[in-house]
Symmetry: C3
Subunit: 213 residues, 3 copies
């Protein structure tokens, strides 16, 4: 039914395009997070974080546009609540990635921390899988590819949980000062939440596949 309607109402294709722009944007911002956690120079970090801020604003605008289109269009390519949830998840991923970078700079964290570096790689991997899944939404027939992406997203989220647990254990076992501990714990947590939001996006995409494929 959706496909027939699409023929008469090409306007609903706008959603695919907006989602693809948002998830492509996520790939750019998570790539920059990897740069930030490997950069010791605070000034160079600040430049990258400025670029991340611009990407974050772009994502805010895209999310806003999706909500506006949702308000205007009675016919949508999939359930309205799924469109709303997916847009919210992609926006949340972006917010947590940007917040992670901001906190790393703000707290003047030494980048030479293997927990933080592994976490950034894991976020980046999860985001690549989210982007692949979003690109497949236009052609829901390739169910297997989407399901594979969702499985990959979930496995990166589990990986982030393990990195988090190990990092926190190391932190409490070390003789680090309590204030420094609070800072690092907050960064690990924000980074781990970025992968939770990737899992949320994966869950919405899976529910779309179940209904429409």
């Amino acid at each position: 039914m959706v496909n027939i309607l699409k023929f008469f109402l090409p306007k609903d294709r706008i959603f695919y395009s907006l989602f693809e722009q948002a998830s492509q944007n996520l790939e750019s911002i998570s790539g920059k997070l990897v740069l930030v956690v490997n950069e010791a120079d605070f000034n160079k970090r600040a430049v990258i974080i400025k670029e991340m801020e611009d990407l974050e604003h772009q994502n805010d605008d895209l999310t806003h546009q999706i909500f506006i289109e949702l308000g205007k269009n009675f016919i949508t390519p999939f359930d309205r609540e799924d469109i709303h949830s997916l847009a919210t998840s992609l926006d949340d991923i972006c917010d947590y990635i940007y917040a992670s970078a901001k906190k790393i700079n703000f707290y003047k964290i030494d980048p030479n921390d293997s927990g933080i570096q592994k976490m950034a790689d894991t976020i980046n991997n999860a985001v690549l899988a989210v982007n692949s899944a979003v690109k497949e939404l236009r052609n829901l027939k390739n169910t297997q590819k989407i399901v594979e992406c969702v499985i990959r997203i979930n496995s990166f989220e589990n990986q982030a949980d393990d990195i988090f647990d190990l990092s926190i254990e190391k932190l409490f076992d070390s003789d680090i000062d309590a204030k420094e501990l609070i800072k690092k714990r907050e960064i690990y947590q924000t980074m781990e939440e970025a992968t939770d939001k990737c899992e949320d996006a994966g869950n919405v995409i899976e529910s779309i596949v179940v209904k429409y494929a």
Copy 2:
């Protein structure tokens, strides 16, 4: 369509009235938060916080009534999910404001903290803008006024973010004891979340305007 139905079904006006009572209540409780953060006497603070508790219970009751009406009424003045989200946001704002005051008293925080005082003023300003927007819902034709309120809410939320960042930076740079740092950080965070919830309310109101105005 909404207006025609309203003529036949005046019962749905109950929603406007409940929302207005809830947002008017928010104005009272946020005004009292400003008093709390400027009051050094713990006993006098406790009296104000007791009044805030009563207002918080009133808001719980109003939210509950909105959900009951939503269950009973098939026809609603705007989307059921928007009514649900707006009621939840207004209730959340109230909860965070009350929690902020409770924590300030509970942790025996010295009110002479410019971060906390600025944060209370910002929450109060955001709540005034929420209340103005809610009052305009009855007459959705005045789109521009509502949009202005939403812009104001968002700018106060940004302001709260900045106050939060600056306060946390000052906190970590000071020689404050780690336990005291934990307390203050929790208060800044709870206050900042109150403005996030104002932004949520603003987002729902904006989406109602897009659909119905």
Copy 3:
């Protein structure tokens, strides 16, 4: 209407069965949490937590099945959004209970802490009330029994709030090391959130009663 449809579409009964399995599972996992907080031997604790992990995986699978059924079935015994919210709440309760136990073991917390023990009992009581309410969903005519369960859930959630406040107050007044304080505070918070999620489940159940009973 629901009952007539059910006659023709017995398939929607699958939802009752899945919800009952999930809430019965919750009873098992919260019973094990009570064992964990009364067990001083770290190895014995680890065995119980492994059993809790299995229960948590079972609940993940049940939640997933509910979402799959929701995607496949056009007719559902009550509102789709209520089914989604209830499944999410039951899953969240399970996650927070499991996380509480994991953190207690992870941080090597001395079980001889009356706050943690009282909190575990309160969670268990709230979960028993959730399970009773879920069992009544098949026969929505027994409104009074469900309403009583919801009232009980809310009163346990209030009790958990009080235990939390008292425990945190004691913690900050003690001469505990800041790092240990951070650990215990995190555990109290995770446990308190488990009861918040019970309240969420109660709210959804109440809204189902309002609409269908």
